[in-house]
Symmetry: D3
Subunit: 169 residues, 6 copies
């Protein structure tokens, strides 16, 4: 093997590298099957007129929001295809919600994923939020190319050895 | 058809809805084949120690950054699978760059996509940035679950009837 | 949230909507792992000459039928990619059979899928039948564009809380 | 090669077999780039109460129909992944429409696909209809497992050497 | 059904054919859940100058090897999409290693996959090796089109009723 | 950017790295659209009894060979999903042939891919061969785990600026 070990320090904290600093999918064979849940959130910030357009449609058929919700749900299922070192998982639940906040000129997105399995589902929840946000951008870009996706972060996770994180929504 | 037209106003600005407010993939059959480029950016904000860990690895082998770069490139190719109303495209170029900014405790990501085709490639560039950002999160989450993905936005686009947007990088 | 609850009545019977009428992937986290099976069927109706062509090939190498059988098996595995609210599943068995019925000028397709898991596999069996039927159409369309796919339905399911349906084949 | 030629007759009419009766993807390298369109249709037949449930939801938010429409659009893009001998295509337009017909207790689906390319898009239109129909089944199966998908057929195609088929919708 | 049974002998040894000689996905519903591991290997043979180029890059950033490693890991996850009769699996571990052997002018690849499940993971390990090898070819083909991929074989498997094979690495 | 340029020499010959040694998808925007073809080959070596089993089946229905041929054709279409830096392509033709050679105890595979486009199709032909070979392994592994895939190489390519390679088959 041509690569030199990086020494303990550099790769120490990262579970996705082996002792020689090479990228690996973490071996979860010996982890317990427990209920895992994770909730992530994110926002799409836009001009007030763009949000008004979504909301006027939303009140009638909610199409931008419902297309984005569906894209987010389907995106969660594609996580192991997208994120190189994620395990393929049999998710038992995916929820994606989108709401409009006129005060912040934002569409706010949350996603909660669940699994009875050996590894956490944070990446699935974060991927669902990101794909939903990208879909909002896609559907509104003809009227507003200056939208920004931000605040994409983990709100809460539960289950597994590393324990809970954040506050349950 | 059970759905009522929304009237002109609601759906007017959105190209992804037809006259009756139903989601459609825009018909680009009659658009010209021109060179299209788009550049998007985004950032992953983290604790200083997390960035230091990436950079110490990065100086030697850059693994977090190079795994994320590859994931971004591959993610751009999956855009039509992820974003419901995006056209399948034969991208001619995808570039993804990641740099560390210790002053802002951020990994900054940019992606430029190109196509000789009938529709723009903004979504491909934004998807590349988002997938690269999610991959950074995945690889560092064991040491820092509080990272945030933000500032995901379009920097520049060129080509096509709607003309240029932003400043070429 | 911009969408109004629909009230109990409208969404009551549908498990794929939450109390506010939004599309969801059903949460199966608390369902038991049991053996689930489902059998679906469908037919491709065609001109007698087209069926004769399939059968004459079929007697020798059965290529139209064997290509369609394989496409159906592979299609069952793609179900969660295609049907937005289906769970990703680790199918333990997929069978697809195609037979020719000269009296009805039909290729008849059945598929049986199995899983030890938390949710039923009707959609996998129906998707296998549909993809096999589409493949028959594709392979024969140069000689007969008037073929029709019909009678796609669930013959039998077993396992899970909702109990059995139909008659085991 | 272990397989015997089937003689001219058996494989003659089928373009998806070579002279020796082996499955092939048709070589379209020398076909002209022309505008290709295809329209397909299909129906999901159900109990009157099930249709009433869709329609009452439909009048408010149309969720079953709009989820199925989106699944059909996305399904059209997956056609080359599903149908073994279909060419990968850069579709320029996909439309899917769903309407309720209380007299026939049916949800009727039509899809029109377009391409400027070297091969027809019948399979994309038929796949869009089939995936939309399967999605209707999935969303309503908790209240009605006896639904049937039928009448899936090509209404019209235009463009390419084989000329037009059927009547433009 | 148009196909004749082949008699016991022909299909006897193959588990992927039923009694009538038709391709099937083996039914593993009744197999026990045990820990399964498989290790496969393979090599890419090339001109000495090509290997030198990889190694000089490798010593600094190892890019050819690290891109190929990642591609191999992701490829293992796509196995059920590629190999028609493979079951979809929730792999718990995928490892891919690449080393340069200047004496044989070869890049040597090994992959070990793990699963707690009902079926073996040989195909996942072999697919990981093959995709990593193809990626090495892709990245070096501009300087050496004469490379050959060879010696792709199973080194070891453990778990399941058929017992162990080969020697654990 | 945290990575140091490698200097000209190291990355010079490789088109998949930029001046700073980072992996890139080659920009083909300015390449001409020409007819590109590529032919690759490979072999699966096995015990004589295994080959005899394939051939006895092959004489009747050729199932191992025809399943592998189909898998190879479908695999060619998945190339950009598998090989990180490959461009998405609209292949115009994919052919895969498998023959049995009892003297070498081998199944020999060749694949020819075609495209009118801006980049070569070697990787598509090599991927088709590899996926077909893996499928042969999968279908025969119950009787012979010692099979080896080898001699996977490019026989011929034509079209594009880099000119022809090898001899047309």
């Amino acid at each position: 093997m041509m690569e030199k070990p990086t020494g303990g320090e550099a790769a120490a904290g990262f579970t996705h590298f082996d002792a020689e600093g090479r990228a690996v999918m973490v071996d979860v064979s010996d982890k317990d099957i427990t209920e895992r849940t994770a909730t992530a959130r994110g926002s799409v910030f836009m001009r007030p007129e763009t949000l008004a357009l979504i909301m006027s449609g939303g009140l009638k058929k909610g199409d931008v929001l419902s297309v984005a919700r569906l894209a987010g749900i389907m995106g969660a299922k594609r996580t192991p295809d997208l994120i190189p070192l994620c395990h393929p998982l049999a998710l038992t639940s995916v929820k994606v919600d989108l709401t409009c906040d006129p005060e912040r000129n934002a569409v706010d997105i949350t996603s909660t994923c669940k699994l009875k399995g050996r590894t956490g589902v944070e990446m699935e929840a974060l991927t669902a939020v990101s794909v939903a946000a990208l879909t909002v951008y896609d559907m509104c870009k003809a009227v507003d190319r200056g939208m920004t996706i931000g605040d994409v972060s983990l709100l809460h996770k539960a289950g597994g050895k590393s324990g809970d994180y954040g506050t349950a929504p």
